[in-house]
Amino acid sequence: MAVKVEMSPVEIKNKKPYLEWGLTEKEYDFISEKLLERLPNYTETGLFSVMWSEHCSYKKSKPVLREFPNRNERVLQGPGEGAGIVDIGDNQAVVFKAESHNHPSAVEPYEGAATGVGGIIRDIFSMGARPIAMLDSLHFGEIDNAHTRYLINEVVAGIGGYGNCMGIPTVGGETTFDECYSGNPLVNAMCVGIMDQKDMQKGQAKGVGNAVMYVGAKTGRDGIHGATFASADFADDRETQRSAVQVGDPFMEKLLMEACLELTSQHKKWLVGIQDMGAAGIVSSSCEMASKAGSGMDLTLDNVPQRETEMSAYEIMLSESQERMLLCVRAGFEEKVKSLFKDYGLEAVVIGRVTDGNDYVLRHHGEIVTNIPVSSLTDDVLEEPSEERKPERITQAESLSNWIPEFTDAKEILRKLLVQPTIASKEIFTQTYDSQVRTNTVVGPGSDAAVLRIRRTNKALAMTSDGNGRFVYLDPFVGGQIAVLEAAANLIASGALPLAMTDCLNYGDPNDPEIYWELHQSVLGMSEACRVLNTPVISGNVSLYNENNGEAIYPTPMVGMVGLVKDINKHLTNIFKNSGAKVFLVGNTRADFAGSEIQKMLTGKISGMLNAIDTEFESKKLFKLLQAIEAGLVDSAHDLSEGGLAVGLVESTFSSDVGLDIELKTMKAQDLFSETPGRFVVSVTPEKVEKFVEIMEDDCMEIGETTAKQKVHLKCQNADFEIQVAEAQKIWEEAIPCLMK
C-alpha cells in the first residue's frame, strides 16, 4: 500500500478535508484561532475531528443529557466512566451500561453486532467488574423481504457469536419490527457485571512518569472514521483490498478479559487506571484518561503494535481495531504487567508516559506529530445550541379524537395479535444465545425480566431492556415516561426492586428541530419517571442520525434497568404455577389505543395522542405490588404491554399446566386490547388473597381463576370465547419462524 502524502496545515486550511471528517468550518477556525493559535497539522486535525464528533463529545446531546438524574444513595459511579456502578450491599456492586452499534450493523450486520457486544463488555470489565450477563435491544423493519431477513439473521448471529464465545450469557432483550427501521436497524447491547467494591477502577492516567501501556489486539486500519462513516462509502469498495469494517475476535477478548480481571482484582498496586479503546481508539482512551487526572501525556506511536504496514500517525490514532485496552501502570511495575499478560498469550507494551501539565504529545518516526493541550480534545468542544420545534403531526393529532378499535370477533383479533411479530415468540432468536453459561441464570429469555442469582448470597439481580418507539413518536414526553415505567414494571413483576438504569438514545438527525424536540421531550419524560421511581441514569449512549432514505426512525430510547431481588426464593416468572389460584388485574384500564399493536394491525399505521401519566400514582402502585411479592403473597406476575390484557393472560398460560376462567364484568371487548401502561396480571393462591388485597387496596381487581383445563375462557360485557392453550401457543411460537423462511 502506497504511503499517502499528507496535506500540509496550509493545504488543510484551504482544501478543508475536515468537512468530510465531520468537523465544521466554525469548529476548525475556533481550533486554529482560539485553541492552538496556529494551524493544526494533518494528524491533529484528524484527532479533533473524531474527538469533537457527536459520538465522542456529545456536543449535541449534552444539554439534554443534563436533565437525567444520576445520583442517589446507592450510586457509586455515575456517568463519566466506562460504566455506572451501584451498591447492592455486602460490599458488592453491580455495573452496567448499554451501547448502540446501529450504523456498523446496517453496513455489516454480523460484525457490527458482534463488535457492539465486544465493546460493551470491555466497558464493564474495564471498571474491574466480571461481566455476568448481556441483553440486546433490536429493532428491524417488517419481516417481508429478503434483506430484512438477512439483517435479522446476521445481527442475531453476531450477538450470539460474540457472547457465546466469551461465555457471557445473553439473558434478555427485546426485538420489535416496524417499517421505519428497515434501512436502519437498531442494535443496542447492554452488559451487566458484578464486582467487589474494593476492586473499582477508573479510566485515569495520573502520576508523572507512570507508564501508558497498550494491551490486546494489534492495530490495523479498521474502523477509521467509524464514527462518521456512511454506507455509501462501501458501495464502490468491491474490487479493492481495503475494508474499514471492524472484525471482532471474541477469543482474544476472552483472554483480555481474564487477564484484566486478574490485574484489577489481584494486583491493584500495579495499576493506576484502565480504559477500553472504543470509538476513536487510542486517541479517545488516552486523552480521556489524561483529562480525568489532569495530566499530560507523551506517546510514541512506533511502539503501538501494528498488523498492517506503513500506518500513518493519523491511522494509528484513529483506528477502531477491536479488543484493545489502555492501562496506566505505576512506574516500575511494567515488567510485572507484561508478564501477567504474557501468561494469557497477550502482549502488553509501554507506548508512553504520563507527564506534568496539559500537553498531549505524539511522536512518530522520530518526529513530534502532535502537540496540543489535552483539554482541547476533551473539554473545549463547542456546544452548539440546537433549535427545537414541536412537529406538525403532533399539533394536528392534539385536535383530533383518538381512534377506537371496532370489531365483532374478539377471538379472531386475539389470534391475529398473537402472530404479530412484535408479540410472537422470539425463541427462534434467543435459543441461538447461550443464556445459561456460568450457571447463574435463574430466569432467562422469555419472562418479563431475566433473573441471575449472585453466588454465595441469597440475592439475585433482575434485568431488562425496553423501548417503544411508537409511543415516543406519538408523544415523546409520555412515551419517555412509559419507557422507564415499563422497564421498572418488568423488574417488579420479577420480584426485584429497581435500582438504576442505563439508556441508548436512538434518534434521527438532531439538526432537524423537530427531531431535537423529540429528543429533548422524551429525555424530560424519562427523567421525570426516573426521579419518581428513584432509578437514576448511571450510564448510557447516544446514537443520532438514524435515518432511512431521508426518513428518521421513530425516536427510540432504549431503557436498560437492573433491579435487586432481596430473596431469591421470592423471585417470580410470568407463568401461572397452579390451578385454583385467583387471577387479579393490577392497575386501571383506559382506552389506550394510540400506538398500540391492535391499532397498527387493524389500520396499518399508528396515530393519536397518548393519555397523560401520573407517575407518582403509578410508582405507588408498583411498590405496593413489590411489597406483596416480597411478602410471598404472589404466585406469578406478568406486566402487560403489547397486545394488552388478553395477550398477557394467554401468554401466562404457555408451557404451564393450567388454563383460565376469566370474567371481566366492567370491560368491553375492545378493552381487552388496550395498552394502558403500568398494569399486571398476577395469580394468588386463595388463602393469600385477603392479605394481597389488603396491600393492593383498590389497585387490583379479581378477574377469575386458573383452572386445570388446558384452555382460556374469556368473558366480558360483549364477548365470550374460549381458546385452547396449545393452539394459542402453537401459532405464537410458529409465527416468526414462518416469516423467516
Partner: protein, 229 residues
C-alpha cells in the same frame, strides 16, 4: 477423590464444572492450566465446555496440542476417569480418545435449549445412579454437536454399549444414531454434548445432571476395573 478441571484458553464452562463438583457435590476440585504437563495427584479429569482457541480451525482441534494433553492421554490409558462436555467432548474426539467427530449442527446455528435424553448405559462410572432407559432432560448449548462416525465405528459403538446418552424425541443437531454421549471402549472416558453441570441445582430448575457427578464420586472410590460392568 480429587478432580482436575482443565482450563484451556477460551474455556468458559470451567467455573460451571467447578461449582457443580465443589459447591454442590462437595468434591475436591482444582483448576489445572493447559500449560501443565502432568496430572499427578488427581483421580479424575474433566474437560469443560467453551471455545478453546476460539474454535478456530475446528472445535477442539488446537486444544489437542496443548501441553496438558499427553498427560490426559496417559491418564485415560491408565483407565482413570476422563470426562468432557461440549467443547470437552470435541477435544476428546480430536485427540483420538473417543471415536468419531462432531460437525456443524444441521440447522447451521448455535442452539441453546433443554433436550430429552435416554440413558442407554447405566453401567459406566458416570451413570450408575441413573436407571437404564430412563429419560432425563439436560441443556445443550453448541453450534457443532452433530456426532459423526463411519458405519463401522457406529456399529462397534452400539455393540460395545458405548453409546451412553441418546437424544429422545427431537434430534437437535443431526447426530447419527441420535448420539449425545459416548464412552471409549474401556468405559473410562465419557464425552457428551449436553451440559450436566448446568442441571445440578433446584434454583436453576433442573437436577437431572447431578447424578452423573454423584455416580463418578461414588464409583471413584472403587477401582475402575470393578466399576466398568
Amino acid at each position: 477423590m480429587k478432580i482436575a478441571v482443565v482450563v484451556f484458553p477460551g474455556s468458559n464452562c470451567d467455573i460451571d464444572l467447578f461449582e457443580a463438583l465443589h459447591t454442590v457435590c462437595g468434591a475436591a476440585v482444582e483448576y489445572v492450566s493447559h500449560k501443565r504437563d502432568n496430572l499427578d495427584g488427581f483421580d479424575a479429569v474433566m474437560l469443560p465446555g467453551g471455545f478453546s482457541y476460539g474454535d478456530y480451525l475446528r472445535c477442539g482441534a488446537i486444544a489437542r496440542f496443548s501441553n496438558i494433553m499427553p498427560a490426559i492421554v496417559e491418564f485415560a490409558k491408565q483407565g482413570k476417569p476422563v470426562f468432557g462436555t461440549c467443547n470437552g467432548f470435541q477435544i476428546l474426539t480430536e485427540a483420538g480418545l473417543l471415536p468419531g467427530a462432531l460437525k456443524q449442527n444441521d440447522s447451521l446455528k448455535f442452539i441453546c435449549k433443554t433436550v430429552s435424553l435416554t440413558v442407554e448405559n447405566n453401567q459406566t462410572l458416570f451413570t450408575t445412579q441413573y436407571k437404564k432407559k430412563e429419560t432425563i432432560a439436560l441443556p445443550i448449548a453448541h453450534a457443532d454437536g452433530s456426532y459423526y462416525a463411519d458405519e463401522e465405528t457406529l456399529a462397534e459403538l452400539e455393540e460395545n454399549h458405548q453409546v451412553v446418552f441418546r437424544y429422545a424425541g427431537e434430534n437437535p443437531n443431526g447426530s447419527l444414531n441420535n448420539i449425545a454421549g459416548i464412552t471409549n471402549k474401556a468405559g473410562n472416558v465419557l464425552g457428551m454434548m449436553p451440559h450436566p453441570e448446568r442441571a445440578v441445582e433446584a434454583i436453576l430448575g433442573n437436577l437431572d445432571g447431578l447424578r452423573l457427578f454423584k455416580s463418578l464420586l461414588e464409583n471413584g472410590k472403587v477401582t475402575t476395573e470393578e466399576a466398568v460392568r
